[in-house]
């Protein structure tokens, strides 16, 4: 596989590659020490608008893992998956059932961290096995429907899931005594632990996927996106490969769910895991670049950052005006949220379909002008 690398190097030049790597390394290092030197937070605190970036970074990492999970399905395998939140929810609720005090399992965080992905992956296989032979659009509607079904089930099985209240409290992860006693404040220890667990998982997964792209499976996935029939005629079973992608994606979403619910100490209400959440994750990929690892993570940062940091800030700044007009619907920034997302999606698709930071492969695929049903219609 030296060829594509050589090619890339030739096209982009060795310097830009080194710069990228250096930037990534710098980002990893800064994030490694950030909890101990939260300089951004200090800055915002100084100007009187605390944003709690250090806490929110954990959520951003988890969201990034979720984006990577969806990237396996949408980006790598080309599946039109519109229900990733369902697997996220399955992971969260598996964690809830396995760890809360009122049920007899008490598997703890680490047990749940293994069990949640397994359960979510099984759910993925169960939904994929009968439907992956169908046309792509059918799969879209099936996953969308599956998302709704999972949400309904979680909401209605009140005896198990506590319905709209959600399962809680989810216990903090067990840590080795040396780590657990490193600070007097248990909340601080938990935060640090989850920060590093989520961060290591995110970085580790990114590395694993980067390598996956260069393996046999990665190659088969690219081939599959380009021409499914030709790939099948090479003796590669498309259904099996898609099932693998689906299971891996679903499992990782379950992993993110386990982390998410542990961070919140609750499974959150079932309506968290609805269609809008699935689309939020899809937005991350679209904004960052479908099929691009760095893009998925960048998308998660941008979107989550917008939603949880920028948007509250603006709301806070608009507060005086909103209060004056007694809650006018137009003056609440939060009410503009979906219009902004919608416009972002439409404009991205129109002007930069490959996303902000695409992989070169995806860029090439997306700028293929001779695809689509009306390809031969154009003048």
């Amino acid at each position: 596989m030296s060829e594509p690398n050589d090619r890339q190097v030739a096209r982009r030049g060795p310097r830009s590659r080194t710069t990228t790597v250096a930037l990534l390394v710098l980002a990893v290092v800064v994030l490694c020490v950030y909890p101990h030197f939260p300089f951004v937070d200090r800055l915002f605190e100084a100007i009187g608008h605390p944003i709690l970036l250090d806490r929110k970074l954990v959520s951003i990492f988890i969201f990034g893992i979720l984006a990577l999970a969806l990237n396996v399905q949408v980006g790598y395998a080309g599946l039109q998956q519109l229900g990733i939140a369902a697997f996220f929810g399955i992971g969260a609720y598996t964690t809830g059932i396995l760890t809360v005090e009122k049920y007899p399992f008490h598997a703890g965080f680490w047990g749940a961290l293994v069990a949640a992905p397994v359960c979510a992956a099984i759910a993925g296989l169960a939904i994929g096995a009968p439907t992956l032979r169908l046309r792509g659009d059918y799969f879209a509607i099936v996953t969308l429907g599956f998302g709704e079904v999972v949400r309904t089930i979680i909401l209605n099985l009140e005896g198990i899931t506590d319905g709209p209240r959600g399962l809680n409290p989810i216990p903090d992860p067990w840590l080795p005594p040396a780590v657990a006693e490193s600070s007097a404040d248990p909340a601080r220890v938990k935060y640090l632990a989850l920060y590093y667990i989520a961060f290591v998982l995110l970085v580790g997964l990114a590395i694993v996927f980067r390598n996956l792209e260069r393996t046999r499976l990665g190659r088969a996935l690219v081939a599959l996106r380009e021409d499914e029939l030709a790939t099948a005629c090479m003796g590669i079973n498309p259904v099996r490969i898609k099932l693998v992608a689906l299971a891996v994606g679903a499992g990782l979403a379950g992993l993110a769910g386990a982390l998410y619910s542990t961070t919140l100490t609750t499974t959150a209400e079932p309506s968290t895991y609805d269609f809008n959440y699935s689309i939020m994750v899809l937005c991350c990929l679209i904004i960052g670049g479908v099929g691009s690892l760095r893009g998925a993570i960048l998308g998660a940062v941008v979107l989550f950052g917008f939603d949880n940091i920028v948007s509250p800030l603006i709301t806070e700044l608009l507060q005086p005006f909103a209060a004056a007009s007694s809650g006018n619907v137009f003056l609440q920034f939060n009410n503009w949220r979906w219009i902004i997302f919608g416009l972002a999606l439409v404009l991205m698709m129109r002007f930069r379909p490959e996303g902000l930071w695409p992989s070169s492969r995806m860029k090439a695929e997306l700028h293929h002008e001779d695809e689509g049903p009306l390809s031969k219609v154009g003048p």
């Binding site: 099936v142 599956f146 079904v149 309904t152 689309i279 379909p353 009306l374 154009g378």
Partner: protein, 314 residues
């Protein structure tokens, strides 16, 4: 037995509304292979327009003769609104993406759907509907059509004027659509384009015009459906488009997407299954039953009820 019959009536009536929405999905899909996610929300905006018109012209106080004239007018206005909006969305958003990979228009459609939903929220915040604070609340539509049982109040079975209005108006619209697709030049052009756009273009059909017409017709159907829905369900909500659109699209898939009679059949099946499942299993399980059925059907009939298996050209 009476419960069963009652639920069947309910199911068919609901199914008719779904069918009108599903037709818009299936026609657009048939030609562009695009799941027009915004279609359900277009329907929702239509119902807001209907409610606005009803309020502006103060129809609850009008005589029934006025209503007989006013309601069809509102339906026409909403149809024009729906068709026009759908057409403009196609021109502005989907048309530049005709040659892009399939994910692009799909994502754009989701984006448009979000924009529409947000517009619906703002619409609900207009002073016309009371306080702007509860913009997201459900809006009540005044009962303009009598809900009196036509079989007499003593009867166990209920068929109301409303039910008849829904069924009659939907059937009229569907027959009109059938005639349009089967017996006009435009219909022929649409069918040809759906089968093979390239060949259709070579035969001198203006494919862009046909696609535009499809969006207008689909949007118009959604507009009419929204009026019927508002009068039948008596509430309007900015998120109603997602639920109904989802069921309608499921109906289109169930019947075999791209297939016009299939969409109607699928919608009726879904309407009836929903009604029966909420009666016999529990209303909260409705989505689970509907989608379970969809998955089951697709396992045994991958192309839907009436759809034919499309062979890939090699």
């Amino acid at each position: 037995m009476e419960t069963l019959a009652q639920q069947l009536i309910l199911g068919v009536t609901n199914g008719m509304v779904f069918a009108l929405i599903a037709l818009g999905y299936t026609m657009v899909y048939g030609i562009l292979e695009l799941i027009n996610f915004a279609h359900g929300d277009l329907f929702m905006l239509g119902s807001f327009l209907a409610l606005t018109l009803i309020k502006v012209f103060d129809l609850p106080t009008a005589s029934s003769a006025t209503l007989l004239f006013a309601l069809p007018t509102i339906a026409v206005v909403c149809a024009v609104f729906g068709g026009g909006l759908n057409w403009s969305v196609d021109r502005l958003v989907y048309k530049p993406l005709r040659n892009a990979p399939k994910l692009a228009p799909l994502v754009s459609a989701i984006g448009v759907s979000f924009i529409f939903q947000n517009l619906g929220l703002f619409w609900g915040g207009l002073p016309l509907f009371g306080s702007a604070k509860d913009a997201s609340a459900q809006k009540d539509v005044p009962a303009l059509i009598s809900n009196v049982n036509l079989l007499g109040e003593g009867s166990h079975l209920r068929i109301t004027t409303k039910d008849l209005m829904v069924i009659a108006s939907s059937v009229i619209v569907m027959v009109a659509l059938y005639v349009l697709v089967r017996h006009t030049r435009l219909g022929k052009a649409m069918r040809a384009t759906a089968q093979n756009p390239a060949a259709a273009r070579l035969m001198g059909i203006d494919v862009d015009r046909v696609i535009g017409a499809t969006f207008v017709i689909g949007g118009g159907l959604a507009g009419i459906a929204s009026v019927i829905y508002a009068l039948y369900i008596n509430t309007v909500h900015y998120q109603a488009g997602f639920q109904n659109g989802l069921y309608a699209f499921t109906a289109a898939v169930l019947g075999g997407i791209g297939n016009i009679p299939g969409a109607v059949l699928g919608a009726l099946v879904i309407g009836v299954v929903r009604a029966l499942s909420s009666q016999y299993i529990g209303a909260q399980w409705e989505p689970a039953v509907v989608f379970g059925m969809l998955i089951l059907l697709l396992v045994f009939r991958p192309a839907g009820l009436l759809g034919s298996h499309v062979r890939e050209k090699v």
